[in-house]
Symmetry: D2
Amino acid sequence: MTKPKLRIGLIGTGFMGKTHVFGFASAPRVFELPYEIELHSVADITPEAAARAARTLGFAHSTTDWREIVHHPEIDMVDITAPNALHKEMALAAIAAGKHVYCEKPLAPLAADAREMADAAEARGVKTQVGFNYLCNPMLGLAREMIEAGELGEIRGYRGLHAEDYMADADGVHTFRHDPAGGGALADIGSHALATAEYLCGPISRVMGDCVTMIADRPDGRGGRKAVTVDDIGRAFLRFENGATGSIEGNWIATGRKMQHDFEIYGTKGSLAFSQEHFNVLHYFNGADARGRQGFRRIEAGPDHAPYGLFCVAAGHQLGFNDLKAIEVAGYLNAIAGIAPEPFNFRKGLRIQTLVETIHRSSQEERWLDVPA
Amino acid sequence: MTKPKLRIGLIGTGFMGKTHVFGFASAPRVFELPYEIELHSVADITPEAAARAARTLGFAHSTTDWREIVHHPEIDMVDITAPNALHKEMALAAIAAGKHVYCEKPLAPLAADAREMADAAEARGVKTQVGFNYLCNPMLGLAREMIEAGELGEIRGYRGLHAEDYMADADGVHTFRHDPAGGGALADIGSHALATAEYLCGPISRVMGDCVTMIADRPDGRGGRKAVTVDDIGRAFLRFENGATGSIEGNWIATGRKMQHDFEIYGTKGSLAFSQEHFNVLHYFNGADARGRQGFRRIEAGPDHAPYGLFCVAAGHQLGFNDLKAIEVAGYLNAIAGIAPEPFNFRKGLRIQTLVETIHRSSQEERWLDVPA
Amino acid sequence: MTKPKLRIGLIGTGFMGKTHVFGFASAPRVFELPYEIELHSVADITPEAAARAARTLGFAHSTTDWREIVHHPEIDMVDITAPNALHKEMALAAIAAGKHVYCEKPLAPLAADAREMADAAEARGVKTQVGFNYLCNPMLGLAREMIEAGELGEIRGYRGLHAEDYMADADGVHTFRHDPAGGGALADIGSHALATAEYLCGPISRVMGDCVTMIADRPDGRGGRKAVTVDDIGRAFLRFENGATGSIEGNWIATGRKMQHDFEIYGTKGSLAFSQEHFNVLHYFNGADARGRQGFRRIEAGPDHAPYGLFCVAAGHQLGFNDLKAIEVAGYLNAIAGIAPEPFNFRKGLRIQTLVETIHRSSQEERWLDVPA
Amino acid sequence: MTKPKLRIGLIGTGFMGKTHVFGFASAPRVFELPYEIELHSVADITPEAAARAARTLGFAHSTTDWREIVHHPEIDMVDITAPNALHKEMALAAIAAGKHVYCEKPLAPLAADAREMADAAEARGVKTQVGFNYLCNPMLGLAREMIEAGELGEIRGYRGLHAEDYMADADGVHTFRHDPAGGGALADIGSHALATAEYLCGPISRVMGDCVTMIADRPDGRGGRKAVTVDDIGRAFLRFENGATGSIEGNWIATGRKMQHDFEIYGTKGSLAFSQEHFNVLHYFNGADARGRQGFRRIEAGPDHAPYGLFCVAAGHQLGFNDLKAIEVAGYLNAIAGIAPEPFNFRKGLRIQTLVETIHRSSQEERWLDVPA
């Protein structure tokens, strides 16, 4: 019995495009997928670049016109890894053409745009996905499972973080990421901290933001300097619907930090601590352990933490970043097949943008704000 | 040539009193002090308790009346480790009697009281000290030295923390620490995070507080429950005078945490990370290290980090909590002798109370507040 | 310009077979390979299993007869992941048929057999590879590069380890791994510690072994128990040709350990420490760092550590176990194309078996032995 | 009711002498001791040095003749921290005079001398102590308690280590520590690894040594170089009477290491891992923890781990190196009073020397040796 094919058209061949292809390549070898993946077409700026991408990445066809992909009758799913500013136009066109749409984060620089995209997808009945891959980590799944099962008791305190240093150099050139329409540390990586916070603790109901620009201007690439109007550090106090309180920080000038996507979560019965710097490990404190024998346990990812066992035969081998992408792909294909709900669809992508915008606005207005539904 | 004597009268013989005596006992064996310390008198509630304390701790005399100590003509320095609510009366009496006064933290539950104490001490010309012992750690000294020398460049971001779990049990009895007049996690341990932040980065100019009560009531010890009106978690966004921004959290319901007095500080050239859970270590990222060889260094306390070398012959041996108290005592004695400035006098104790109160008020009013001078 | 094809026949579809296929799938998307990989045929025990493996893993054909693969004229490379005892017969047949041969470790249970295989491959002029994938870690490459460049100075001391707990349960059934002809902790995982030791420090010239059986017998699967005659812990003192001295331990009953493949290497100028439990990190002590600022640096894998940058866009993202396999595959294909030397050919596989056997014999004879060339 | 006095005479005022005095000063404030300690006399080379030591350290009298101390009728216990080569003569004289004797490690460079000292002490009926202070760590006490209670099950594997870098510089001057009569890394610090091994796992019955000199000669202090005949690294395989097997290493040229006194101990039910680099922590793996929730626990020293609670009010505060000395002093005083057995008497000091010598001999003869009783 052969599986139906799912034909993919990829727009954008930069690093994230390549990472998606890693996911398409390994997912079928790891998971029992509902479809046979076919890498149909890829679009890039020039014919040469597109042809090379097709050859390297394994697509059958190439084009310089992303609209060809969107409208190609054989293509089932459009995968968008083009610059953020183009996400909306491409996605809406693909949705209109009845394609399933997989879009890198952020879904769109503005929540209003993201909402339009989510509405369109739901109206048209296509399945969507935004690439919040850190959430695909089995250890985050374990954390959520433990929280939902009550192993930590009632959650009281949360601390989330996503800090890197890729913008720490004040002489780094001004780019689209420094653009006020959607850029900044909070939007770019603080969004991951927010996604993880809601993934673990449920909806955030209220925020108080503190977004600061520490590097006032950057080289404009033409010998001058251009003012930076986005945040280099975005902090927020949080209220969760479940009664917990917490904070997050997104920081792209944290000199020396490469992947400090961390969280600590404190409950009445136990606690968890995690760092993406070592993402195959979850630290767990169990308040029920015997006196004098208590301490944070260093749980290493293993076959007990699905779907780790599909990748590696035993604990300690460790998943890598690209493996998380394979898990993301598998989840999306199951959703397309109707086997499982969409893991992180455009509606959820919109949610993150809404949180980011509310925190920005709270920071500007210097007051607590309710997060719109 | 014999040294002059410094005769000490101790009020309060609980754990902190004992810890102070550890400091008095070891400081002269570690440091070349300007005085010979004499443990003159100790006060406790009953004659038996006072006599036992005198014997165990090594004081020559005992009394049940703290005023005897304050007024005893032979006593040079009064050391107050009695309950917080009594600090003010005792300290003012001692100052009026011309004694130097060493007082455990917090100096007083209310900043107004702390100000009265600081003013009185300065007017009378006595030397004072508040017990912020974490600041006596040679690795914090190293951190400050590196910052002042510009080794981190310009400071941009600060994250401070003091989390423990000693109040995590909702069935723990209501105590004076749950009293609105000065109690709560922010005042009790968040104050340490604030002291460290200013020690390293200089004055905090503006704050936005978020103080929350997670355990609504606690057993009153008589079969009922009593409402808790203090914060279990106190958070704040910070602005420093030097332009840096940051945050701190004080949390006494962080299940599993025993001493998470941590900070991370990010500059343009380098960064530091520290945890009191392993306080003989400072992590240092130097942006000038060669490419491909960069990473946070785990610096272990050693003789290069004064005054470590007076305690241990080589790196790796490690100081303990009580050693920090000996350093604190030595610093105070040098100040009394006029050799060095007061390391952490009543004026600085007042400063911490002012920060705590401003954060509390900011949280209640839900707006940013300038920190009064 | 199209690339020549390299057609692969896989024998064995267990976990390691699957892992190899992960490598074949991702290598072309990561590296600019000299060949286009074609998954030609796969062999398994039953027609159903073989057909399912072909479908899941992406092979065009399937068979129940491994000899068909070995003799198929279209197949260029035979990949052997069948049980250890079959490696020799399969490899010799494939070599005789002029195929390149990729064989999982251990190459053969006995060094004499491994030697026959290595000799045959060299005589026939085919390219071979044994799967010592830990060596493909960019951080091990970095370590070797630093050592070769003299960054550590002269090497004096080495400590290697590979400890896990998969045989810690005394009620685990007796298997082929408990067979005296090649089994045991030293052969199974101590071999990794030996491979890493020689990879970093060069040839081991002399050994003193200490191989012990701690679990005397195991269930025979038929209600009785069967004596275990292999080592549960295999230790050795080492002399290296370069003058360094050291030790290794292989241990499969180290309760709680999942992947303690660690090493520490001490030179006159600096040192390295590594644990496979966190294999994207290398700890480096540089004796030339300024006084009071020295400490082991936690170097995180990043684009400065080739070929990491081909997998992930920035430091901190982390490679996984299966990525190491892609690196291994790429190295082998380059060797087949004559672009680079064989990274770890049968001759090197033999070398490891020789070391294992010499340590076994040394342990039995309770004396130091020279390692045969 | 006043306590009897115990009058102490100290010979040697170097760092270890000072450390002992720290212990004498703090022990009575921490523990309920059977004696009141009186610092009676101290001996040093010159009258000035002796007088200064008396003043700084708090002794009533000083002398330049250690024999005065040994024979002084008022002195009850003689504390020897003079150079190793003098231990024997001083101790035998003190024993002959009926004094209790406290001696820094090593008890004597040669086991034969140590035996004479132990025999003499027992014959004369005085109480003795050798300063193996790492064993006084509450976390080592916890480890032993867990092992004795069977919490780890049957012990199978042990790995011990004591590595530092204080002799890593080949241009460090030749000293008495490089003298063949008792010097070398194994004797100097490997002895600590041996003491810990027997403290935790019981008697070692058989050893195979590997002692190597990596720095052939050192400056003689007069412009030339002098051959080094002691080991820079001393390794040993171990057999324990209880059936466990293991290894230790003593290494004083481990560049970058300051206090790598580590052990790992693997049992059938659980495991422990420890590093003196962070000696207030013990890592514990409990095989009975639920599946998917297992991992090494980071147990922080606290009041549950006696006598920690006498020093610090709560977990996380941490003991320092000098606190271990206070514990050592308290244990010895209880032994003198007949309340408890001698924690580490001359007989045990002899035992360590016997182990060291047997390992040295084993290394020279290149064969396994039984450890004499």
